[in-house]
Subunit: 361 residues, 2 copies
């Protein structure tokens, strides 16, 4: 176990080399840290701004050993890191945060909702589905339409399908690959909110102001924050974030997606054990943004201030939309964040633009 | 000549791997660029956050060739890059900004003041000094006390000495190493200001609000910005910055140090052909800080907004003062910038802390 707080000059390891890892690495660099990236591919967006890049599969013990030896602490940018990889790192003496328990819960939608309900965080009703008969029984209980998702993997709307009535059960079951699944009752929500929160090694918890999110085809398009919400809603969201963080004995940043129902009640849609796309607004809206906060948490530093200093609208640039950088670069209210990913294939998250709407006193 | 504006994914080369190069590299990364660092030493602060680090002396043609081949455009973080190195890079087809002319002017104090006066930018009176007799003649004309500096090199108060009367001429001449020098009349100033400005490839010029600076023993300690100045002073400073940038047909960010005299008249103390320590406040006080601005300028992007969104006090942490990170990390109004330099020897610039005093509407 390293001595916390880690001094500048220490190395923060990051599992996964995508844009979240890149922005974590840039935040770590500002605090004087080195970073090391572990990814299956070489020359990742995060690796290109890091002192060390280790390339290996999640079960490549030799590569994981090289990585662990270089790191003073390890975190992750990707929630589908196999728990086995984290266990190998831990067995090698690496301190991984968030740890195997948070990952296991976040990786399985049944485990996740069971954990949430068990800790007083309401979700939609759901049923585990292991076969077609199970799906039919679940449809009976939850009613249709209902959302069928694979239990594991899938993100940005992938691996899920609406089952509009019992007659669609077979097609739905095929659509998700006839794999262990979850059927979720339809949530009739007014809007989608999210709360980004962090917990330090000392147990301190901070929550950022809520973001209001708009998804299209399962992919986040826009977050506007701080969202205009009642005190009650804000308090309820912060209480949910705290229960999640404390229930998992979590260290780091978590993203909690919420549905706001008519009347203001909140349901948790899902939790992501990492910095989160709906928290990108904090880069230009808060003194200490989510990436710095994550670095502070895993390095055992005191958490930074999560208060907003500006109202921000964050827009994702997907696929060829990244070409809009030319026009957006001329707009004085926009701060661009480009990920240096090569291939701008349709739908791929390539960049985001934070529009600073106004500074807050 | 590359096609400007350079698209994300291009490589920005940086001559020099210190903290200014590091912060340039981080800014370039946010805009989706790769960076390559050229330095005499390996594993520099900037190299550790860059995709490529080329190690070589300033006259190592093979290393310069490797570097030039990797870069779409080249800039610098260090004004004493030998002009010969820039000429080699240019002869290899590299586009270097700011270029050899700006460097030549900034590297020689006599050339610098001659350029400034020739372009309507007032300085203290001065005389070139080539030998002891010349120093005596210069003291006769300018009076004592006067400041004797080497013509070339020297920074942070190094390579300069006050000559308090004619009897000290010999000692002064020895103190600067009996090298080509400049004698500068004493400026009786009220305070030290600076203006950071940028010029794009399209000739557009922007100036940041002025900073008010406090030096100790020749080293910058604190910048507070935006400085409270009259409209006349601000206009005069912006006019000086514009004359410098246009006079040198400059592309990039320049730092201009000013003396404010009783009554508000400004004299130029010196110009630095690069991002500048007195502009670090912009990182947390402006939407587009000086490092992003420099990247935009050399990449041929439109310049960003130089307006302030917060009032900031920047404090340098020198040598062992870097240990103050522990205490400063607990202060919610502070943003820390640590450089990841190993050896905290006394006086070395290790980090700075930006205190956000208030946001501006």
């Amino acid at each position: 176990m390293p001595a916390f707080p880690l001094p500048p000059g220490s190395t923060i390891g990051i599992l996964g080399g995508g844009q979240l890892g890149r922005m974590l690495a840039l935040a770590a660099a500002r605090l004087g840290f080195d970073t090391a990236i572990y990814d299956a591919k070489p020359r990742t967006p995060a690796g290109r701004v890091s002192a060390l890049e280790v390339t290996g599969a999640w079960d490549d013990r030799a590569a994981l050993e090289r990585f662990a030896a270089a790191c003073d602490v390890v975190t992750l940018e990707f929630e589908n890191v196999p728990v086995g990889a984290v266990e190998i790192l831990t067995s090698l003496g690496a301190e991984v945060a968030p740890g195997a328990r948070a990952l296991a819960v976040a990786q399985d939608r049944v485990e996740e909702k069971t954990f949430l309900n068990g800790h007083g965080c309401p979700t939609v009703e759901f049923e585990p589905v292991d076969d077609l008969d199970g799906l039919r029984r679940a449809l009976d209980r939850l009613g249709a339409p209902a959302l069928l998702k694979t239990r594991r993997e899938g993100y940005d709307g992938k691996g899920q399908v609406w089952v509009r009535d019992a007659a669609e059960a077979d097609a739905g079951w095929t659509a998700v690959g006839r794999r262990p699944a979850i059927l979720e009752a339809r949530a009739v929500f007014v809007r989608e909110l999210s709360v980004i929160a962090a917990r330090g090694r000392d147990g301190a918890v901070v929550s950022y102001p809520l973001g209001e999110n708009r998804h299209e085809a399962g992919v986040l398009r826009v977050t506007r924050a701080p969202a205009i919400v009642s005190d009650h809603t804000r308090t309820a969201a912060e209480a949910i974030a705290r229960k999640v963080l404390e229930g998992l004995d979590y260290v780091g940043v978590v993203g909690v997606e919420l549905f706001e129902l008519e009347g203001g009640r909140l349901l948790v849609n899902e939790i992501a054990p990492r910095v989160h796309n709906t928290g990108h607004w904090t880069q230009d809206g808060c003194l200490c943004h989510q990436f710095e906060q994550a670095v502070r948490a895993v390095a055992g530093w005191p958490l930074g201030p999560a208060t907003a200093v500006a109202e921000v609208e964050m827009t994702n640039l997907l696929g060829p939309e990244v070409e809009r950088w030319r026009e957006l670069a001329t707009d004085p209210s926009i701060r661009l964040h480009l990920y240096n990913k090569g291939d701008a294939r349709p739908g791929r998250k390539m960049a985001h633009a934070n529009r600073v709407l106004r500074t807050l006193p």
